[in-house]
Each structure stands twice: as C-alpha cells, then as structure tokens.
Amino acid sequence: MSEECGEVKLIDEQGLRTDGRKPDEIRKTIMKVGVLKNADGSSYLEQGRNKILVAVYGPEELHPKHLALPDKALLQCRYHMLTFSTDERRSPAPSRRDIELSKVIKSALEPAILLEKFPMTTIRVLVEVIQSDGGTRCAGITAASIALANAGIPMRDLVVACAAGKVDGQYIVDLNADEDKLGEADLVVAIMPQRKLVTLIQMDGSLTLDEFKKVFELAKKGCYELYNIQRKALLEHYEKVAKEVSQDDISK
C-alpha cells in the first residue's frame, strides 16, 4: 500500500481499471467442483488470472491424537503458493504470510462448518495457489467453501469472500495485484450469505469510518455475485453426477 499512487494511473479517464473493469465489477470467475479423484471434496477456481485448486479431506482420524478436540472436529487449513505462481519465483518454504493466511482462512471458514458433528476427528482444507494475481486469500476461501460442500461436510451456509478498496480516490471491488499494491486501502470481507454473518474482515491502508462502511458494502456486493457462481458450480456438479447415476441405472 503506497502513499503515492499518482505515478501509476489505476483508473483511466473512462473510469475503467487497468484490466478494463468498471469500479464495481468483479473479475471473470469460473468455478468447478469435484476436480480431484483422491480428495473427499475438491474445487478449482479462476478469478481473473488467479488459479486456485482446493482439496478437502475428512472427517478423518487425527495424528498426533493429543491434538484432537473432545467436542468437535479440528479444522486444519493450509494456504500454499506454488513456486511459479507469481512473477518472481517463490521459495518453496512456507512464508510467514502463508502461515498467517492459513490461520485467517481457517477463521473465515470455521463458523460455517458443523464441526461439532465430528468430535475427535480432523477436516483438512488444502488451498493451492497455482497462479496469483491479487485476492488469492478471498479466492481460496470461496473455493474452499464449495470444496467442503463437495466433500459432503455438513455446513450452516457457504462462505464467500471478496475484497474491496480505494484507488485513485475511488472505491473498487475485487482488487487485482496492482490495485492491491498501489491502492490506498484493501478490505477483505468473508460472509455467510444466508446467515448474514461476517466471518472474516481484514484491512490495511487508510480509510475514515465512513469510507470503511462504503467499501465494506462494495465488498459485500462482490461476495453476493460470487455466491451466485458458487451455487451454479455446485448445481452443475450435482446435475452431472445425477445424470451419470441415472445413466448407470439405465445401463444396468
């Protein structure tokens, strides 16, 4: 977050952003579930140039056992970036950022999962960032949530996340890497859309309380748009599975 963003113009005279979007427009987003054979649930998400793969394993036995919780499943989340996911090759060792984001993603997903149904077990959510272009923690949460649904883990609601911020004095939604880096503020919001609960909020930059509330609304709007895509992806998968099953029936 740099103070002087005057040099690089992030919004042009037509009011369009560097990637051609309008301020309140989210990036083109594709979601699929059931993309990995071995995982209990999985998903793949492209949001602009972000490419995210998520696998969910569990509920399953936990090792070492003394970490198990007597009253609920232990949710374990890992956020991990492949070495070639960014412009500069990343070190393969987990960074401090990776470790914080893993914790933050857990905190965003946990409210939605009925962990109390599976005491003494673990549910593992593995977020792999194959390509990164800003907003991967949000994309990871959004993708993880449908991978959890795909795994058949009972949930109170989906979780969907989106960032919003302020660049060149304007409020924008779903920041890409340049906007994140050069903008004036970056607000990350995750919600459970049916329950109307906020499960994650993170911010850095500089906003008055009033601006904060406006940017928050914009992030929420992004969340609801992504929520529709989540539902469509899940629906498509169920329809496909249903079709396969019924064809199996016919072939018998």
Binding site: K72, S102, K103, S107, T208
Partner: protein
C-alpha cells in the same frame, strides 16, 4: 507454541457461565464492557536497544526493543528503509507455551502489529534511505510476551509503537565512495508520521468486550483488532476466532473501538512525553 485447542474451543460450560455473568452487565474481573485493564508503559528498559518499552495490560506483559542495521532495500521500494517486525511468545508467558520458532499465533501477532505500524504509517521509511537501491536502514522491531493473559495484540502494538517513538538512531553520512559513516554521537529520533493505536475486542454472544482477558478470549466467538491513526482513520483491521459476527455488531464494534482508542492514545502519548522529558534532563 500454543495449540489451537488451547486458544479456542474451550469448554462449553465456561462459556455459559461467562454469558450469565455478562447478562448481569459484569465481567469476571469487575470491569465495564468497554473498559481496559490498567495499562502501564515503561519506556527505555533495555539500554542496549535503540528504543525499548515494557507494556503491561492487566497481567499481560510484553517487551519490545528496536535495533537498526545497514542493509539493502527491497527491489520494489529501492528508496525506502526496511521494517522487520518479529514476535515471539516466551515460554515464561504461560505453562502451555513451549519454546521454539514463532508459530502461527506469534506470526499473526507480528504481522498485525507490523501492519498497524506500516499503514499508519508510523515511520517515514523514505527518510531511512541512505543510497537509493543500494543501502538503507533496516529497523528491527522485536516483540516478546513475558506473561500472557489475553489481548497480546494491543500490548504488542503499544510496546512496539512506544519503542519506535522513543528510539534514537545515529546520524549517517554517505562518503564519496558510497562508504557509510555512522555517527553514534549525533543521535536523533526516528522519523515519525502518524501514531497507530490498536484496540482489540471480542464478541461473545451479543456482547462486545474491550481488552479481553485470556479467559474471555477462550470463550469468545470473534476477536477484532482495529487500528486508528490520530486523524481518525482506520489503518488496519484483523479478525480472529472461530465464529461469525452480524454486520450490526461489527459496525458497533468499530465505533466502540474508535471511541476507546482516544483514551488509549492519550495514555501512550503521555508515557512517551514523560520518557522524553526524563531523557532530556
């Protein structure tokens, strides 16, 4: 290292007892919902550090120290000094904390403290550039918890900010051959822009409690840390905890935090001024 099971998800019974108490308008230690425990800021406790402070909030005790070194800038900010913030839970802090490299909790603590400082911004990093693209000042802010009774975020932030505000760095001269002369006689303060004040609160049921104790953190749904600058802006937010929060309560929380930050700012700046006065005499 604190295992997740130690931090959250504690007994259902404890939580029920706490909620009963809160319904009566009281906290376990008798405080108001939006009241901090006594905050003590002890500045200059480590003479070998360029700046240092020990901060206690109730029984939580944190010590921070600032050291500098000459290093290289990051490639994308060739004309800025480098700020490195580290936090460690000393095993003295509580029986369940084991020695070892910073775990996820310590890393989150360091990064949230760092973001408050960086986005205020507290330090004018451009003024720490010695030779653009080649040599800059690296400022190490190292934070240790000595005793842990909740709300490490605010104690860490206060200790780090107080250390930086009262820190003395030498004067530097860049010679013709790009050699850097360090003049330890000519000490000067760190170049300051804006002072961040963090306020941490938790949400338990419908209640919002400022400055949670360890017990309150354990049974809480959501932990929120808001950081404000003196021009009434928010510069950082962090959510933790296993629960969600309604939008109404969230907005209420921001407003409470903002209000409380004012008195906390006074307290910190008072301690800083006293320390500077003592130092001058």
């Amino acid at each position: 290292m604190i295992s997740p099971s130690d931090m959250y998800g504690m007994s259902f019974l404890k939580r029920r007892a706490m909620l009963k108490l809160l319904a009566k308008g009281t906290r376990l230690d008798g405080r108001e919902f939006h009241e901090y425990r006594p905050v003590k800021i002890n500045i200059g406790v480590v003479e070998k550090a360029s700046g240092s402070a020990e901060v206690s909030i109730g029984n939580t005790v944190v010590i921070a120290g600032v050291k500098w070194d000459i290093g290289e800038p990051f490639p994308d900010t060739p004309d800025e000094g480098v700020l490195v913030t580290m936090a460690e839970f000393l095993p003295t802090s509580a029986s369940f904390i084991e020695p070892g490299p910073p775990d996820e909790h310590a890393i989150e603590l360091a990064r949230v403290t760092d973001r408050g400082i960086r986005h205020a911004p507290l330090i004018d990093l451009k003024k720490l550039c010695l030779i653009p693209g080649k040599k800059v000042l690296t400022v190490f802010v190292d934070i240790y918890s000595e005793n842990y009774d909740g709300n490490l975020f605010d104690a860490a932030s206060r200790a780090a900010v107080a250390s930086i505000l009262t820190c003395k760095i030498p004067s530097f001269k860049v010679g013709e051959d790009e050699n850097i002369e360090v003049d330890e006689e000519q000490l000067k303060p760190m170049p300051i822009v804006k002072v961040p004040i963090s306020v941490t609160l938790v949400n338990i049921g419908d209640y919002i409690l400022v400055d949670p104790t360890f017990e309150e953190e354990q049974v809480s749904d959501v932990r929120l840390t808001f950081t404000f600058t003196e021009d009434d802006k928010i510069c950082a937010i962090q959510k933790g905890g296993p629960g969600g929060i309604s939008e109404d309560l969230l907005m209420e929380a921001v407003d409470i935090a903002f209000k409380v930050s004012k008195e906390q700012r006074k307290l910190l700046m008072g301690a800083v001024k006293n320390a500077q006065k003592e130092n001058d005499t």
